[in-house]
Symmetry: C2
Subunit: 338 residues, 2 copies
Amino acid sequence: MIPETLEYIDNQLLLIDQTRLPAEVVTFRCDSVEHVHDAIYRLVVRGAPAIGIAAAYGVCLAERGCRNAYLAAMDYLATSRPTAVNLFWALDRMRARLEGCASDHELHDALVHEAITIHNEDREMCRSIGIQGASLLRNCHCFLTHCNAGGLATSTRGTALAPIYQLYEEGKKVEVFADETRPLLQGARLTAWELSQAGVPVTVLTDSMAGGLMRSGKIDAVIVGADRIARNGDVANKIGTYPLAVLAHYHRIPFYVAAPTSTFDVSLETGDAIPIEERNREEVAYQGERLVVPVAANVMNPAFDVTPANLITGIITEKGSLRAPIQSIESEFVSVMD
Amino acid sequence: MIPETLEYIDNQLLLIDQTRLPAEVVTFRCDSVEHVHDAIYRLVVRGAPAIGIAAAYGVCLAERGCRNAYLAAMDYLATSRPTAVNLFWALDRMRARLEGCASDHELHDALVHEAITIHNEDREMCRSIGIQGASLLRNCHCFLTHCNAGGLATSTRGTALAPIYQLYEEGKKVEVFADETRPLLQGARLTAWELSQAGVPVTVLTDSMAGGLMRSGKIDAVIVGADRIARNGDVANKIGTYPLAVLAHYHRIPFYVAAPTSTFDVSLETGDAIPIEERNREEVAYQGERLVVPVAANVMNPAFDVTPANLITGIITEKGSLRAPIQSIESEFVSVMD
């Protein structure tokens, strides 16, 4: 079964504790705003859509019916992951709902309703990407993916993994190769876990093995998520995505990006304008307590890379797919967005 | 200063303990055959040429002047790493020397002399690859390398790193980017350590970052070692080498292999005939004690991949260089080997 990343039951937010995966499957129960803040801060829940949903439910755990407590919860939760756009977006929706509600004793129900709506919209988005993608990938059996653009990053089903789950549920034979995705190993820890939970055969490889695997002829399609998509169709995604696109191009393997239209940023002309976060050296230089890079050596640790549109076979969204050659998100936007 | 991997002083073999790098620099002192066996078995010393040299010195540590003790040492040391061709080759040379020596009281000196000869030949080979490579790479400033084909795998200077050390010593400005090289991190732990010891600026990156780095225009040449080279010029090397060759090709960056002619295996027509060792899942599935791949997922862990000759700009050997297009090692062999 495809796991549920978040559940809101009896005024508790239940999360799969992603810091304990894959060694242990533990439910992290939040019955206070502080618990939810802690869960987001410590990456118990991660992935932009999942963080947004968790924060929305988190607001509902403030003192019942107390307008000021809800507002304080929003401010506090906004500090849990300073760069997560979906977090602010979800909290803004909760705030608007609060402000639109005149009666204090209706506040709780209104906010819970809004959080459930955000949650359901995400489910719907994932399911729709799955259906759109499955129609495109109907003849593919063996997929390569990178990082975790799966159910654990969203409500369930994910973006890049959604078409694979869809094909699997339709009874198609599917198989996934998951890059481990250094330095934080989201592919090994999370993608491999959720796929195996769902019953989809999955094989983990180091990022350096993807080239040889493609050369062997085993891979029918590469499918990845996206962090941001510029107006010309260039895609920023987890570091290691770009070399996969080049390798897929060299081996004539189709390369797909699956992402909600909310990932489109038409304010950016090309991918070169996307800022790339440089993360700390410790993520590369240590494995747990063990030092693996000498102190005298430099370390580079960009979180993302940019894949130019010309290497992308298609961008799968919840509203349809853009097919190569991708010239401009904007010009194709109209048909896709309608 | 470029570190010395092995030194034989006062009837002791001194090794840099590579299992402790880069956190600690510790000398591992061997004064018995058992110590040397242990050092090879536990990867205190690794890299085919370095293992061969260590085993040769190891024989010299048997009971002085006792023919049977020397023969027993050879048999015992041959069990330290079952697949290391250089190990058997070095022990065969020691055995031939033993058999050619009629007088028991000359045995010790004869064997030490042979081990020193093997050691010196390796030094000479590395220095020569360095000189051959430096003449080819004179206009390159910034190198990308993979795994450790450096001094720590040989007597000193290495194969892929030898031209870089040579250029550095000639006063050229050089800089190295070292892939960490999952799963065993030889690039992060060993290449970065020895280059920084020698004063060469080095930056460690995860294997997945090499593509974006090449796209940035920073890399002038890729240079790697080789485990085996087939007759048509196909190269087997550490897993992750092949995707680097494809990425270099796509970015029009020259891709060089540096290896002694002893790496040529003319009995193999193409790289497809090179057997690829599949290693255990634990190397990928664990980081120290920490499980990072769920038990239900498969793991692939090939130790090597094969880079076809058409992606290689040049093969640098101690006897000269083969330049693209590399058609056949055999036909070019004559000029190179002479």
